[in-house]
Subunit: 321 residues, 2 copies
């Protein structure tokens, strides 16, 4: 095969984006379908399979595509299934063997994994983790996701669900209530939602303190508001990132104790808060780390374009087959 | 080669035990030397190499031995070195390339890893983890060690030092001071030393409570004392194990979130405390676990003979080469 290509599918909570990717990580063509406008896995697969087939045949790539990789919420790499995906109507209560169904529909091999694992594969194939065998990708979005690579291999666990580091609990007492039903989970602090929550808490705890965040009254405060305020040197906003960075830094020190990664790559919106987050994070991590790991693990902000990384990561899975 | 054998070397803090092991995990012959009666790595290697060579030649196994595996405190599998081993005079302050030196002396390939990783390989080759690709071994001795296997592969990290789970910190506030200089580390609670420490604390906190442990006045209380008292239905002793099991169970719930193992195998003296430890451990683990992992991970007490397991684990490393 002269020019092999892979299909990367990023199944988001609203839309599913499909990209045709070459070995260098360039996305040549894209298309998309809705994720949620289907009542059954069958009808979703019918639509996605058609979209993939169209993308290949209309662009004369037939025969050049080696396979399909998908990043899927709650995707299970071992089984190729999606299960208990709360936000996806056709996969909310059932286990859908998505990879096998797509493979049958398109005639191409198909593998899937969850979004954060796909991000880790993307970093390894095209990003900051090129050449690394031991690293962790932390995705800081609405929640906190993670993809752990050790010895060059994605850690998926016996059931395909390893690496839910957003649900490690750094705050053991009076921790925040998490969507998982427990308290103190990392993602209730270190995520876009967590930062907004911290802002609301700070405003309430310190009613006397001045901050531009107090002027936002007609809509809920977002992490972006906090970032903008921090850039404008708002003291409370800066402290909100310090608080977030400290909790994340403490947790990362524990993660290093587990798999001793060469790098931890931060990915997603919140990672762009830059030194507002990174400085307290690195400082707390250094203070909390076991001495044998001191100064060995680099904290890197992903350089992959957010819009492209999910497709690239998914496509990386296709190259693996 | 008709009958391949491996040499397993368990380098303890006092003695180094050498065993010749067959594929089934039977230790055919043993010998031992002191670990600490040497001032330099060279003199230790000279003695150990001679002991290995003697064991092989005197028993006519020349040509049948495929290699040497060693379990070594602070052993680095990536580099084959032992470094900063606090209790070993000739490796306290220097990095000793032990595997290469032994290999040169004996003419046999030699690999080494730390004690807990060796235990994990031993469980995989001969014990409860036979056939498992994802499991964690927790060694409960003076401290708490761990060997993590994921996807059939020992997690060693970029620097060879992954898996120091004794230094994960489940107790964030007012945690006990650990030998590592930090506070709240798991091994200050969940280890033989930790149990003795809990006993001392309980006696002090509850001066009015009756317990046979209060009668031990001429020497320090040990975890064995607490176990004996628990068997005799001493209420405080039982509560000491409950306290220990709760902290360990909480920590294990977090470990599962990381690598989603099929089993966690408890090894070493404290593991024999049986249900005094296991019941509160399992109960707390179940209460703290993220729902997707619920009921999936088995807690197993190692069935390997403590005296043999270290040699078997080390020998398992030799089969791997």
């Amino acid at each position: 095969m002269d020019k092999p290509y892979a299909i990367g599918v990023d199944m988001g909570g609203t839309n599913t984006v499909i990209g045709l990717v070459d070995r260098r990580g360039d996305i040549l063509i894209r298309s998309s379908i809705s994720t949620v406008d289907y009542n059954t896995g069958e009808s979703y697969v019918e639509a996605l399979g058609n979209a993939i087939n169209d993308l290949i045949t209309q662009n004369n790539f037939t025969g050049d595509v080696i396979g399909i990789g998908m990043g899927v919420p709650n995707g299970n790499m071992n089984d190729g299934t999606v299960e208990k995906a709360a936000n996806i109507p056709w996969a909310k209560t059932v286990v859908v063997p998505l990879a096998a169904m797509i493979s049958e529909k398109t005639g191409l091999p198909c593998k899937l994994t969850n979004d954060a694992n796909a991000a880790a594969l993307g970093e390894m194939a095209y990003g900051a983790a090129k050449g690394l065998k031991d690293f962790i990708v932390i995705t800081l979005g609405t929640g906190l996701g993670s993809g752990i690579v050790a010895g060059g291999q994605l850690i998926v666990g016996h059931d395909g669900f390893a690496g839910e580091l957003g649900h490690i609990r750094p705050v053991r007492y009076n921790g925040r209530l998490c969507g998982c039903g427990r308290t103190g989970c990392l993602e209730t602090y270190a995520s876009a939602t967590g930062v907004a929550r911290t802002a609301r808490e700070f405003l309430e705890i310190y009613p006397e303190r001045e901050t531009v965040l107090r002027d936002i009254t007609t809509r809920p405060i977002t992490s972006k508001d906090v970032f903008e305020a921090a850039k404008a040197e708002d003291k409370m906003a800066i402290e909100i990132f310090e608080f977030t960075g400290r909790i994340l830094g403490e947790a990362l020190a524990d993660f290093i104790t587990f798999s001793s990664p060469k790098a931890i790559i931060l990915f997603g919106g919140l990672a762009h808060a830059g030194n507002f987050l990174l400085e307290p994070l690195k400082k707390t991590m250094a203070k909390n780390i076991l001495s044998i790991y001191e100064g060995k693990t680099e904290i890197i902000v992903s350089q992959l374009n957010d819009a492209e990384a999910a497709i690239l990561g998914a496509s990386a899975l296709a190259w693996e087959q």
